[in-house]
């Protein structure tokens, strides 16, 4: 049963530290998304890739966040430097193409103290 894999599952770090979250999309899916979920804001889109090219990262604070897809099997989301307000669950999702449902990973729960 194919699934989106995210690592780490949990991350606790101090403010100012760099955080890297990784995502392995489902094989064959050519769209990859990063979402952030908080109680206050719900699910917010951070970045969107199609065929590894970034299409939309308007939801991402550019000064500290960066998203990349070094290859088709790996997407990364980095925060440097991290701040307490970045504490949230970060979800990666992938999809096989336009018009298809997205499949979500189990998320990375980030706590920045």
């Amino acid at each position: 049963d194919a699934r989106v894999t995210q690592t780490p599952r949990h991350k606790v770090t101090e403010m100012g530290q760099e955080v890297t979250m990784r995502c392995q999309p489902i094989l064959g899916h050519n769209t990859v998304f990063w979402y952030r979920q908080t109680m206050m804001q719900g699910l917010e889109l951070l970045a969107y890739f199609r065929n590894r090219a970034p299409l939309d990262d308007s939801g991402m604070p550019k000064d500290r966040f960066s998203a990349e897809m070094p290859d088709a099997t790996l997407a990364t989301l980095k925060i440097q430097p991290s701040e307490p307000r970045d504490s949230a669950v970060y979800f990666c999702a992938s999809g096989p193409g336009l018009g298809s449902p997205l499949h979500f990973g189990n998320g990375t729960r980030l706590t920045v103290t």
Partner: protein, 112 residues
Amino acid sequence: EDKVVQSPLSLVVHEGDTVTLNCSYEVTNFRSLLWYKQEKKAPTFLFMLTSSGIEKKSGRLSSILDKKELFSILNITATQTGDSAIYLCAVREGNAGNMLTFGGGTRLMVKP
């Protein structure tokens, strides 16, 4: 302004009750509306709706879309404790590729 609005924010019912969850949207180039169920981890896909008036059904869950009035409902009949979750509605716009815009979710709790 919010593009996708869900109501109620939260709901507590007893097993066996029927619930109706609402999702209204306001987008310029609507393509589809999706419902997801989120328990403790990843949102899992329930339904995708593209046409008005055609009910999608899966067991005790069903959903329908009204493109004229810009809303969708998700019905759950004979609720069970396992239905307790956050139900998320998301809309895909035609000029936004495969991107989904999510509503804030409805938190459903089903008590025994």
